[in-house]
């Protein structure tokens, strides 16, 4: 039996970064908002407290704050001809679960995408010719340009207190920042973090090669900061427990530290944790979502919550799954190329190389999640791709994220993995090694997509999301090229031992951690036939449904995505508050 509840102004599904931002903006606009969160209630005081939060086994290895695959996971096949098997544990990526979502357990890298990334297809075509883009590369322009999104990037940085160094202030290139970034109206709210020793070794090597190193725009704060919500964030302790952990000292911007204390205290907001949304009830006559059905996971009771406005703010897999289960929009068909729901699933194409120094001390445990030195010289279209056979590039960076003893030990190539020789090498190199990473773009491919698995089910008996995904020609060439560039920087450091270069080879593997940068499935665009949401992230098929998050990216650039995820949330919230609420209906004619 389903209990039908009284209508509310708005329902927000998923209270991570986008859901927190949107719910806050909607309550500020006077709406009564219900937040449906599938995970548990969480507060920093109760759940991230010292000393128990700094428990590598519980949080890093056993993944306590990550989505529980026993309740819900997804399946993988590499090609259309195969059957998919479930991710029985998470490895390659770590979707969040619980109040704050993946925003609780991120490292804090807060980039803006390059102007190029927002106009990808147009710019590649303009520079390299009409036939440059292969037919099976289904990349697209964003539905808004960088300069339109710029004020919203700024808002998210101010919310987080992002610590960084501008490289382009109103068109003026600033030494020490990223000269390739789009023009900024203002500098970061806080100065950059002091670099680590590894970061400085990377910086010097990059400079010696004529490259342009700059510090990570970091949501680990460099000083005490009161954000526009009136909440105080503290300077980072460099404790080396960012990714997969909640922050004990409010030094990492997360939904839990930057918005939720204000939102949860607001009588216009009601949080319903452990509420699993099963369906958006689509009224095809009015082209609206009439209500949201959900199951209370504590009691098993089912509810139907009618709402004037519905915002889908879950992770890309869940956003896509709920549209498919609710039959909103046309599922993407990789054979015909028709349909848009599930289309353009993208990931991150990562590569790396390790360096070992007999005479340097790295202290890898003195680390913050987003304190590296970086170069953008081989990212986006910042270099000529003529004759290279691929498009896009990678952010290349170095600086330890942590030195945690179970997961953070490095030994030179050829070292045994156990026994006396392993012990000697581990003790010798633990503090004398680090990794140079390449975080590469992943451009959409016709055969990479999401749909519903025909076999495997979640804890509520619903189909799992099936990922059909593999690295394609562009990805392998991009990874080989950018990893080789990382090796050039590594050589310029003159390490005692150079590790084995690790470009992305072979098939996508669920085991080694690569990044939790999963995008697409409900992409934005200007054509309802080839996209799911319009430029205001409003669903073409239901005018009162907005879909937020990286699921709206047409493809995934080299920079980590969270800065753009936050910017898009403010962009959509602004369109809802200033335009949609005044005249509800389609903001862009279909």
């Amino acid at each position: 039996m389903v209990t039908r509840l009284k209508e509310v102004d708005a329902v927000v599904i998923g209270i991570g970064w986008t859901g927190s931002i949107l719910a806050r903006e909607l309550t500020k606009a006077g709406l009564r908002v219900v937040g449906l969160e599938r995970g548990k209630m969480r507060t920093p005081e109760a759940d991230f407290a010292l000393p128990f939060i700094r428990d590598e086994l519980k949080y890093h290895v056993r993944q306590e704050l990550v989505q529980d695959p026993a309740l819900e996971t997804l399946t993988l096949r590499h090609e259309l001809s195969e059957s998919a098997l479930p991710f029985r544990r998470f490895g390659a990526f770590m979707p969040g679960m619980g109040l704050g979502g993946a925003g609780t357990i991120w490292n804090g890298m807060t980039w803006r995408f390059l102007p190029f990334d927002h106009e990808l297809r147009s710019r590649i075509t303009a520079r390299y010719g009409k036939n440059a883009i292969a037919d099976d590369m289904t990349i697209a322009d964003w539905a808004m340009r960088y300069d339109e999104l710029e004020p919203y990037y700024e808002r998210f940085e101010k919310l987080c207190g992002t610590s960084g160094k501008a490289g382009n202030l109103n068109g003026e290139i600033i030494a020490g920042g990223n000269p390739f970034e789009g023009p900024r109206r203002s500098d970061y709210p806080n100065p950059p973090l002091p670099p680590s020793h590894a970061g400085m070794l990377f910086e010097n090597a990059a400079k010696s090669l004529g490259l342009h190193p700059y510090p990570t725009p970091s949501a680990n704060l460099s000083r005490e900061y009161r954000n526009p919500e009136g909440l105080v964030l503290n300077p980072t302790l460099f404790c080396g427990h960012c990714d997969r952990f909640g922050c004990a000292t409010n030094s990492k911007a997360s939904p839990n530290s930057t918005i939720l204390p204000v939102l949860l205290a607001d009588p216009r907001f009601e949080l319903r944790p452990q509420s699993w949304v099963t369906e958006l009830v689509h009224d095809t006559a009015s082209r609206k979502v009439a209500a949201v059905r959900y199951t209370d996971m504590a009691t098993g009771e089912e509810f139907e919550q009618p709402a004037g406005l519905v915002a889908l703010c879950a992770y890309p897999f869940t956003n896509t799954k709920l549209l498919l289960l609710s039959r909103i929009g046309t599922p993407y068909d990789p054979v015909t190329g028709q349909g848009a729901v599930g289309k353009n699933y993208c990931y991150q194409v990562t590569g790396n190389v390790a360096v070992f120094f007999e005479k340097e001390e790295i202290n890898p445990f003195i680390a913050a999640g987003a304190n590296q030195m970086n170069v953008d010289d081989f990212n986006g279209d910042n270099f000529d791709h003529g004759g290279l056979g691929f498009f896009g590039g990678a952010l290349i960076f170095a600086g330890p994220v942590h030195g945690r003893p179970i997961a953070g030990r490095m030994t030179p190539p050829g070292t045994p993995r156990w026994g006396r020789a392993w012990k000697e090498a581990t003790a010798k190199w633990y503090s004398r090694a680090f990794t140079i990473h390449a975080s590469g773009a992943n451009f959409a491919h016709r055969a990479n997509y999401l749909d519903l698995d025909p076999t495997y089910r979640d804890a509520l008996g619903r189909p799992l999301i099936r990922m059909t995904y593999n690295f394609r020609d562009n990805d392998r060439k991009l990874s080989a090229f950018t990893t080789a560039k990382a090796v050039e920087i590594a050589r310029a450091m003159n390490p005692t031992i150079l590790g084995m270069p690790m470009p992305r080879r072979g098939d996508f593997n669920v085991l080694p951690y690569q990044s939790t940068h999963n995008t697409g499935g409900t992409i934005m665009g200007e054509d309802p036939k080839t996209s799911v949401v319009n430029r205001y992230l409003q669903a073409w098929e239901a005018s009162n449904l907005f879909i937020l998050g990286a699921s709206t990216f047409p493809q995934n650039p080299g920079h980590p995505p969270t800065g753009a995820v936050g910017a898009l949330a403010y962009w959509a919230a602004d369109a809802i508050a200033t335009r949609y609420l005044k005249t509800p209906g389609a903001l862009v004619p279909a």
């Binding site: 590598e56 695959p69 340097e360 003893p405 993995r417 012990k423």
Partner: protein, 193 residues
């Protein structure tokens, strides 16, 4: 079989694990052996608890053999995986050496583990390589996890690395120790709880 002192391990399993773990992490100047550091107690607790019972593991069928890139695809809980894996490893060791694993000398133990690691060992009905990887992983977890969980006794694993543990406030140290080794007496959850 004699009653076990462990929560879930049998005496035979514990004997295998002790011999294997002490081959993976032997006693030397850098640290005592794995078992001297409590690693077998750690494994016992982990396998007796939610992890061993399959918490956070998707176990729905159909169970099918995947590609290596699909990761773990067995229907076994970690507790049952180790029960079956240890039994298969013991059977293989008996057939290969004519003795139980714990009765082997140090060199033979090393040979046996190397054969499992490389895939040269073939267990009856069980993946030798997969078993070795799981064994190596849980031994390392026990040696390096906070002693709260029974292993890493006297912080031997952290001392071997020079990992200072908690509370980890390096606001000044990131600059004052840049390029210089930061050393401190390591402290764990128990020092603060």
């Amino acid at each position: 079989m004699a009653a076990s002192d462990y929560l879930t391990l049998t005496e035979a399993e514990a004997a295998f694990l002790q011999a294997a773990a002490d081959t993976i992490i032997p006693a030397d100047a850098l640290s005592p052996s794995a078992s001297q550091c409590g690693v077998i107690d750690f494994i016992d607790c982990e396998l007796a608890g939610p992890y061993g019972e399959g918490a956070r593991l998707y176990r729905d069928g159909p169970i099918e053999k995947g590609k290596p890139e699909h990761g773990y695809q067995l229907g076994l809980t970690p507790r049952d995986f180790f029960a079956d894996g240890i039994a298969a490893a013991e059977a293989w060791t008996q057939a290969r050496f004519g003795r139980s694993f714990a009765a082997l000398g140090e060199t033979e133990r090393g040979e046996a583990l190397a054969a499992m690691e490389s895939g040269k060992a073939e267990f009856a009905g069980f993946g030798a390589k997969e078993f070795f990887e799981a064994l190596l992983t849980i031994v390392m977890e026990g040696f390096f996890a906070d002693p709260y969980y029974g292993g890493n006794r006297d912080l031997a694993g952290w001392k071997m690395l020079g990992y200072p543990g908690l509370m980890a406030d390096y606001q000044a140290a990131i600059e004052t120790y840049r390029g210089k080794r930061y050393r401190a007496k390591p402290r764990s959850i128990g020092d603060f709880a």
